[in-house]
Structure formats: C-alpha cells, structure tokens
C-alpha cells in the first residue's frame, strides 16, 4: 500500500515539474518574441531616420543615394535577407558619420542626435534579444525539455549576424 502511495507521490511531483518547466519555457519564448518586437521597431525607426538624413543637407548626393538604397533595403527585407540589409545600413550610416564633417543647421543636429540616441537604444535592444535567445536555446538543450518535447512546435529562436556586428 505504502509503495503505491510513494509511487503516486513521485508521479504527481514529476507531472508538476513538467508543467512548471513547460511554463518556464513558454515564458522564455514570450520574452524572445517581445524583445524581437522591440528591436524590430527600433530598427524600423532607424531606417526612417536614415531616410530623413539622406534627404537632408547632411549627405552629399553620392552618400544620399547609398543611404536611401540601404534604408529601403532594410525596411523591405524578408527575414532571410534582413541581417545583411541591417548590416548594410549600419555601414552606410557609419561611412557618413565617420566623414567627420562639421554640422551646422538646427534640423541636421537634431537628426544626428536622434540617430545617436537610436543607435544606443538598438545596442541595448540587441543585448536584451541576444540574452533572451541564448537563454532559451540553453534551456531547450536540457534533457527534460528534449525528452518530453516541451517546446512543442515553437521554432528554435536564433540570433542574427548583424547583431554581433553592432555589439
């Protein structure tokens, strides 16, 4: 009798643990989704600012063209080409800002300030996203999660190459 009781107890604890683990993983997936949404939003804003810079007096015709192309690419890119497009935009912006020409004009200064603030935010957002992704990957590697397929049909989250570039 006692043996069955013990067996039942172990079964209950095991079930609870599985449920708890599934919740834990679900939360992590949620974290990955929201941190990506946040990063995505910021990147969109960056592309918008880049377009404005391209239109302003900051950019000479050549870099204006380059920037416009890069910004549009970043905006329209599909998931597979997104990483490359964002790297391209970072590069184009970097070229323009590294030229180091002096800026006067109120609007231009404002644009550059907005860009540098956005860049800082993107950096933080990337750190948050990368952390969420690596954490999720780590947890999904654990035997309990693998054996009982607690991840269900959720795809394994990945980090993108451009994220490493900016960090």
């Amino acid at each position: 009798m006692e043996k069955y009781f013990l067996f039942a107890l172990i079964a209950i604890i095991a079930l609870w643990y599985l449920s708890y683990s599934a919740t834990r993983l679900d939360r992590l997936h949620h974290r990955v989704e929201t941190s990506w949404a946040n990063l995505d939003g910021l990147l969109q804003r960056r592309a918008a600012v880049a377009l404005e810079i391209a239109k302003s007096d900051l950019a000479d015709p050549a870099s204006s063209l380059l920037l416009t192309a890069a910004a549009h690419q970043a905006r329209d890119a599909q998931m597979q080409t997104r990483s490359q497009a964002e790297s391209g935009l970072s590069g184009a912006l970097g070229l323009l800002l590294n030229d180091g020409h002096l800026v006067d004009g109120f609007i231009e200064k404002d644009l550059l300030r907005e860009l540098s603030e956005l860049t800082d935010k993107v950096r933080v957002a990337i750190a948050l996203h990368v952390d969420a992704v690596t954490r999720t990957q780590m947890v999904r590697e654990k035997p309990v999660f693998k054996i009982f397929r607690l991840a269900g049909t959720a795809p394994l989250p990945v980090t993108y190459e451009f994220e490493a570039d900016v960090l």
Binding site: S19, Y20, T23, D26, T34, A37, L128, D131, V139, G152
Partner: protein, 392 residues
C-alpha cells in the same frame, strides 16, 4: 522621456531605514521618477513604520543576516510573500523594477510572484560563492523571468555572468552631480588634508590601512592632516591611533550635503582605502563630482569606476606602503593633482541622475513593448497556450 505616465513598482531588498548604497539608489530613483510625474510605489522592509515617506509600502520588519562581509537587513518567508503578492495585485503596475533579485529577499519573492515587464538591477560584485551553486538551479528559472537586467558596474556584470550565466546592460548608480558642483573651499579643511567619508568603524571601509600609511606620509609631508566624516563612535577608533599621530586626526561626525560638497572641494586628496564588499562606490562618484582628487584601492568596483586609474589614482588594496607612495607623489605635485581632479570632475557628470535615469527609463520602455502590465504569475500559462486559450 515620453509623455506617457507610468505606474512603476520598485522593490528594495534591504531595510529602508538602514543606511546603504542600494537604499539610497532606490530612494533617489523613486524621487526622480515621481518628480517626472510617474506614479511610484516602493516595497521595502521597514523597521519604523511611522517614519517612512508616502510612496513606501512596508513589507514587514527586516531580519539581520551576515552577507558579503557585512550585515544585511533583509526579509523573506511566507508572511512577507503574501504581502508581496498583495502589493503586486493591488498596485496595477505597468512595470516592476526589482533591486538585487538574486539574494533571498522580497525582490526575489516579487520576481517569483509577478509576471509581465520585470526589470532587475544587480548591485553586488562578489567573488565566486559556493552557496550560489547550491541554490543556482532554483534561482535560474526565477531570474530568467526578468525582461531586462541592469548591472551597476562592469564588476557587477561579470559577477552576474559568472554566477548565473546571464548578461546585463551596464547602467551606473546615479548621483545629484549639481549638489556637489559648487562646493566652497573652507580654510579649516584645506592644506595638506586627506579626506575620508564613511562608516569608519566597519573594517571593510579600510580606515586602518590609512592609519598604517600615515606615519610614512607624515615623514614627507609634516603638516598632513586626516579628516574623517561619517557616522560612528570615534572614541574606540581614536584609542587605536598611535598617540604621536592623534593630533593629525579630526573626526567631523555626520555631515550635511552642503558640508559634504564643501568638504570635497577643500581636501587635497580624497582617500578610499576600502578592502572589499563594495559594489559600485557611489561615494567615489560624488567625490569626483565635488572636484576632489581621488586615491582609491584597486578593488574591482573602484577600478572600473575610476577607468583603471584614468580618473583617480589606484593603489594595491590593503597595502599601506603603496597607498603612502601614491599619496606623497600627488601631494608633492599640485599640477598633477589638479589635472587628475579636473579629469575626474568632467567624467563624473555621466553619473548625474539626468543621464542615469534617462538610461534606466529607456530600458523600461523596451521592457514595456507588447505588454499589458504586471500581474500575479500563473503557473498554467503553458496549459492555456496548449488548450488554445488566450494568454498574454
């Protein structure tokens, strides 16, 4: 900052009415956010419930436990847990900001009980601790719930990576830099003076290291004096001082903010001989903002705050000979000392609350993306998803 007013819940793990760096940080942050028009509620253990500001909610009386080389006044247990749950359920917060959630305290309990946008700030910088390995597996799933992590220094960040294998964004502690900007030089505190501020009775503040270094310093700078400010009973410490050196010491007791600003502008050198247990070193940031030339021990927190010696001179921790050498070197050259102080003052502006709170707030905004506010955590959210019910 955006115009949207938030409801923010801050959790302070240590006793509200006991002195400490984390408490000061939480208080300043809360007051800054309130001044910006946000609704802020702080949950903290409190000893005397009659003497707390409106925005603080008591979680009960703290218990004293030894932690990280000092006595920490924290609180946990089932009664505290139910109070934490109550506070979360009634607060209708948009976001919770938990301080030091990796030690057993109400911050950890709040992290356990809540769900939604959670931001955690890690203050402690400690060497690898065995105890953490034992509770690591329990801690991990809880700490994992944090949407964003902040570390107050590179030292705190590496502690976090080592212990919990997770990364954090570094946002330093804040100071009100403008309070220290315009200190007046007072004649009685200037000259060849060495300043020290802190609870000098605590061994880890390192006053004894300065005591040992003093005879050597006095040989080269005969008129050197040591000014010690801060709460404590000076009698015991005075008895320990070599009678020949006693006349060089002056104990000022607790000083006001204004006096502190003047103090930092007046002393020739500010000395921080701490031997460890320091997570950030807010006093160094204040000293720099006050225009003092700083000499500090090379413990990890100070090293990273002073930019590896760029903004203040470092000496090997617990080595009085080296401390004496660095002090003498700087006392002899006004030029060197002034240059160091100037560099430090300019650098300290980045610790101003206007900068720091902006950084913290932008992390809040990121944590808030796609959320519906903080709720009590439910352990069956995976089931909801599995059964196709709407979750968050």
């Amino acid at each position: 900052m955006t115009l949207k007013k938030l409801r923010i819940g801050l959790v302070c793990p240590y006793g509200w009415d006991t002195p400490g760096g984390v408490q000061n940080h939480v208080r300043d942050l809360a007051e800054y956010l309130i001044a910006k028009g946000h609704y802020v509620s702080v949950l903290a253990p409190v000893i005397d419930e009659d003497a707390i500001p409106d925005y603080v909610t008591s979680a009960g009386k703290p218990i004293s436990i030894p932690y990280n080389g000092a006595v920490a006044r924290v609180l946990f247990g089932p009664i505290a847990f139910s109070r934490v749950r109550h506070w979360i359920a009634n607060g209708k917060f948009d976001l919770l900001h938990l301080h030091e959630p990796a030690i057993p305290s109400i911050s950890l309990l709040a992290c356990w009980a809540a769900e939604g946008p959670l931001v955690g700030t890690f203050h402690a910088a400690a060497k690898r601790q065995k105890a953490i390995f034992a509770i690591g597996p329990i801690l991990e799933p809880v700490i994992e719930k944090l949407t964003a992590r902040i570390a107050v220094s590179e030292a705190a960040r590496s502690t976090l990576t080592e212990h919990l294998e997770t990364d954090a964004v570094v946002v330093p502690n804040g100071i009100y830099a403008d309070r220290y900007r315009d200190g007046e030089v007072r004649a009685q505190w200037s000259g060849n003076t060495l300043g020290f501020i802190g609870r000098y009775e605590e061994p880890r503040k390192g006053l004894s290291v300065l005591l040992e270094a003093l005879p050597i310093i006095a040989r080269f700078a005969p008129d050197v004096r040591v000014l010690v400010a801060g709460p404590g009973d000076s009698k015991d410490v005075e008895d320990e001082i070599d009678p020949q050196l006693r006349h060089r010491f002056e104990f000022l007791g607790r000083i006001s903010e204004k006096e502190k600003a003047d103090f930092l502008s007046s002393v020739a050198l500010y000395i921080a001989p701490n031997t460890g247990g320091e997570s950030f070193g807010i006093i160094l940031a204040e000293a720099l903002a006050g225009g003092a030339a700083v000499v500090a021990s090379d413990i990890p927190a100070f090293e990273s705050l002073l930019g590896n010696g760029e903004y203040g001179a470092l000496f090997q921790s617990e080595n009085p000979q080296e401390l004496a050498k660095v002090v003498i070197d700087l006392l002899r050259s006004d030029e060197k000392r002034r240059a160091l102080a100037q560099r430090g003052k300019a650098y300290a502006q980045r610790f101003d609350w206007d900068v720091v709170a902006e950084d913290i707030f932008s992390i809040y905004e990121m944590a808030l993306v796609g959320s519906n506010g903080v709720t009590l955590s439910s352990e069956n959210r995976a089931w909801n998803r599995f059964l196709g019910r709407a979750g968050n």
